[in-house]
Amino acid sequence: MAEFKHKHIIALRDLSKADIELLISTAESMREVNSRDIKKVPTLRGKTIINLFYESSTRTRTSFEIAGKRLSADTVNIAPSNSSATKGETLADTALNLLAMKPDIIVMRHAVSGSHYFLAEKVSCSIINAGDGAHEHPSQGLLDMLTMKDRFGRLDGLKVAIVGDITHSRVARSNIQGLTKMGSSVFLAGPPTMVPPGVERLGNVTVCATMNEAIQDADVVMMLRIQQERQGKTLMPNAREYSRYFGLNPENIKLAKPNAMVMHPGPINRGVEMSSYVVDGDQSWILKQVENGVAVRMAMLYHVCGGELE
């Protein structure tokens, strides 16, 4: 029987194919809890989960909070007022203080890539990464894969196009790490200023010259959020031109397979990376992604609680 032996979930890079399969399968079972009138099971009764969010994120934080509560854990949200660890209390000190309150799991979002590994060395509880810098966002990667599996019944052999700012995207990295392990092929497109060097070496990954090339015959078209603050700086001219070359619209989506699904990790810049016609269209699975988020996070919380010391 498949066993999940990790005490922390920090990156999909650290998980095996079997680990990912188990998490997705558990999430499918958890989804059944979410469909009932009584959306609660006693599984993590008495466990304490701290959601430590150094970057604000209503969606992910709420999703983790609901996931914890549906498993009967006590969840506490902490949003340190200073997001910069250079002033005020250090992350290590914050973590040790929180640890004194005996949490079983700390779910953390932090702006610095790799800070979860640092945290994991300092504390004795489980660590779940809710996003670290431009590194990984494993719960998003897992929920994206679950959503793709819902649509196609498999991940093996899927052609997944990921379009946008790959360099700064932890969502892209988690999807690349996860999908390539699961047998999908990933095609990337974005302005060359937003495609990081060597990304094709991460697995079965192809960097495409144009968006059309990436989405041609794709089963999945995943659009990334373009950060508004990057506009007009050194990476691209402005949203208008970005949208022209890297926006998904009712025309270019026809290049993908007729039954292709469209995804976006949210929040969406309507009219920039995606036209509203696509966001709200038949092929959009964006809200299903959000729904699957809770089940995936329940699965993560459940399995790290049973993980052994690494």
Partner: protein, 424 residues
């Protein structure tokens, strides 16, 4: 005090000596190198059988953190680390608090090192006041007060005109300018080398070209003005190529690299290891081999450590927050000896790069066992194995990427001006 170092394998590139010989030291100076020398009655006799006896090693690029940042290192702990690593002289960079941009600070360092230190300390003054990059420091007075070079190390002089004028002015005074070659706009908020590893780790990368174009600029300025320039901590294949070409067309450029640039690649950053975070950052395999090639063909003149002590609180943090730099004085010799073992350099060439060349570039009047030279001598064992352990390092700071790792080769005795300052 007089001393006779007996029966060691003496290597002195300055005199083309490589033989089993004795070295006689009198009144702090080399008296004689030869076979079967007799010890004067009052001389201490050091048995060097099975050891190498070489001109005292010189590290032309260290940070002693004194004055101002003594919680990281000070002149006493830093020079103790130097002698335990086999160094008889170090050149300390000016990014202290206050900056070495005036006679008072330079004199403080020289006086403290002479009274309390374990080895020779030659301060490097700053090019600009307070490393501000906007106003030339009093290089003449800095030279008079004992500084052997000027550098804004840690920062480039971004203003090209100021850099050009500084090269001209310094040449007039006869003091070497050491360039920290870095194009800051390209570095941005980067924290490691830009490449596959930074992509996988999701860390902001520093492209190699940020070093290359700054190296080009400073070489072009030196070429235009006809002045000498020394490029610090060369880490990229591009810089090696640029310096090689410049030397070939007669530019008065010299340069150094550090042991970490020919030993580690950016793979060492994996696991978000802050002890592998430095500036310039660890590069990739082809840079590493270009550095070795540059050492071999003489493009790279010196091996310096860029010894950069940081307190544990500055390293035991998230990767982006951690300070740049690693300590190096106590691991430089064994790591550099690896180059000899790998056939990159002969032992003779290695000693040139770790002693003769730095002395010649900065005019230190050292790096030689010639009669009459200051008796700065390093004895080392080429084969002895040891493990880098934090609590056994002499440096106050322990920020080494080699903690827990095995080293081969170690300094056995360090003699500074005829006095035994360290013995293992």
């Amino acid at each position: 005090m007089n001393m006779l170092i007996k029966g060691g394998r003496v290597i002195d590139p300055s005199q083309k000596i490589d033989d089993t010989l004795d070295v006689l030291v009198e009144n702090g100076l080399i008296k004689q190198v030869g076979k079967g020398l007799q010890a004067p009655a009052d001389a201490k006799v050091v048995d060097a059988a099975g050891k190498y006896v070489v001109p005292g090693l010189i590290d032309m690029h260290v940070h002693l953190r004194d004055p101002g940042l003594e919680y990281k290192e000070d002149i006493i702990s830093g020079t103790r680390a130097a002698v335990s690593g086999g160094f008889t002289s170090v050149c300390c960079m000016p990014n202290t608090k206050p900056t070495i941009d005036n006679k008072a600070v330079a004199s403080y360092i020289i006086n403290k090192s002479q009274s309390d230190g374990f080895c020779n300390v030659f301060p490097v003054g700053s090019i600009t006041y307070g490393l501000s990059g906007d106003r030339m420091a009093e290089m003449g007075e800095l030279k008079e007060s004992g500084c052997v070079a000027v550098s804004d190390d840690g920062r480039p002089v971004t203003n090209s005109e100021l850099m050009m004028r500084s090269l001209q002015y310094a040449a007039g005074i006869g003091i070497m300018v050491i360039s920290h070659a870095e194009e800051l706009e390209l570095v941005g908020e980067g924290v490691m080398n830009e490449g596959f590893t930074s992509t996988e780790l999701g860390l902001k990368g520093i492209p190699r070209v940020a070093e290359d174009i700054a190296t080009v600029r400073d070489i072009m300025l030196a070429e235009y003005t006809g002045t000498p320039i020394h490029i610090a901590h060369v880490s990229t294949k591009g810089s090696v190529r640029i310096i090689r070409e410049a030397k070939a067309r007669g530019v008065k450029v010299t340069c150094e690299t550090a042991p970490h640039y020919f030993t580690l690649t950016d793979d060492a950053v994996r696991g978000y290891n802050t002890n592998a975070k430095m500036n310039p950052p660890l590069r990739e395999a082809d840079d590493l081999s270009a550095i070795k090639q540059g050492l071999q063909d003489g493009t790279i003149d010196c091996i310096a450590t860029d010894h950069a002590p940081h307190h544990i609180d500055e390293k035991d943090v998230e990767f982006n927050v951690a300070m740049n730099g690693i300590i190096g004085l106590e691991t430089s010799l064994p790591l550099s000896l690896n180059l000899v073992r790998e056939g990159v350099l002969t032992l003779n060439q290695l000693i040139e790069k770790m002693s003769c060349n730095p002395s010649n570039i900065l005019g230190l009047n050292r790096g030689s066992l010639q009669a009459g030279a200051p008796a700065d001598i390093t004895l080392f064992d080429l084969e002895r194995e040891w493990t880098v352990e934090a609590d056994k390092l002499a440096s106050k700071s322990k920020n080494s990427p080699w903690l827990g790792q095995k080293m081969k080769g170690v300094a056995m005795a360090t003699i500074v001006s005829g006095t035994l300052k360290f013995e293992r």
